[in-house]
Symmetry: C2
Subunit: 210 residues, 2 copies
């Protein structure tokens, strides 16, 4: 498979701290994500500043939109994002309105997979023109001990088969990477593992298994 | 039933415009909501300014949290919110961590009902100590023609019966109000209908059916 991209998730509450992390790591990454926490804390100022400082990186605005797809897509893309996340529980109408804004600007919507969803839902997303989703163990699920299992991998394979490219996140270690070899992985997303690493370059090599 | 509270949803992208709307309407409302769009656009500055200007109103931070419950609850409540919304698709672990922060501060979590959820889910929320939810036709669903129907009312009644108080929103007209008489309605939420009304006081009387 094509070598997946590497995405740095900025889950800081302070924009200066987030910018400090990107300053160190930007040569090693393909995608910068303004995480939900950063967006909530600082608003679209965070996305605007990241776009100004890093004009050539793919920039993700992780809003996990649940309603008002058109308005929030305009907010995110006006601020300079290339991709914006919509939560899988959002009504199809919300996904459609966000996707319409995205498509008109050569931007993309990513569906954030959380809680209840089915492969039938995924087929509907593809019909709308949405071909990216984010698969993860969430922060809280991770903290409560859930791990990558065959059930996750089977679901990811099914999503790949209906035409969804996946970005994968949630405490991925180098030992986990082989698990994803049959799956259409667009990007691996790392947050604290990179941002807090004493030697980020070494951590990135570890993530790529190089 | 007790007279429900009236909540003004601020769905502006500009904080000055939102503050202008509250300035006119605050004497008539019980609850001020910093809507998702306002939170996204301006960050927690919006909540902080509303708290400073209106110390006695209930203040809702409508983040529709899907992960990182503890961090986002701290963000919202540190900024001065009394209530924060969590999306129904969030993992129970997220709801639990948000609720723990809320309970320790005498604040409350509201579950935002969107997409797939069941009454069994609602019973789990109540077990966590969460007793509020928001029931609505979303902006996009509304635009695509969905209306209040018996199915909505039956679901709301079932939620009431398991101990969930509901805030209800989504293009409610005075003619709709009688539909909610069997339901434990905590608040009616109005946004554009109030904020853009030529005579807000008259609109409020209309909403209350007075």
């Amino acid at each position: 498979m094509t070598k997946p991209l590497l995405q740095l998730a900025l889950d800081h509450t302070s924009l200066p701290e987030a910018l400090e992390a990107v300053k160190v790591l930007h040569p090693y990454i393909d995608i910068i994500e303004s995480g939900t926490i950063l967006c909530v804390s600082e608003g679209m100022k965070a996305v605007r500043e990241l776009r100004t400082l890093y004009p050539d990186h793919i920039l993700v605005c992780d809003l996990k939109v649940a309603d008002a797809g058109e308005m929030l897509a305009n907010e995110a893309f006006n601020a300079g994002a290339n991709w914006m996340t919509v939560i899988c529980a959002a009504p199809l109408a919300t996904m459609a309105s966000a996707q319409k804004v995205a498509a008109a600007r050569n931007c993309e919507i990513q569906i954030e997979l959380f809680g209840h969803w089915t492969i039938e839902d995924a087929k509907e997303w593809v019909k709308l023109g949405i071909t990216q989703a984010i698969y993860h163990r969430g922060r809280d699920a991770q903290a409560s001990g859930q791990t990558w299992g065959q059930k996750d991998l089977d679901l990811m394979k099914q999503l790949s088969d209906v035409g969804i490219q996946l970005s994968v996140t949630g405490g991925i270690t180098p030992e986990d990477l082989h698990l994803f070899c049959d799956i259409s992985v667009k990007a691996f997303i790392a947050g604290r593992a990179l941002a807090q690493a004493p030697d980020p370059a070494e951590s990135i090599d570890a993530i790529w298994g190089e």
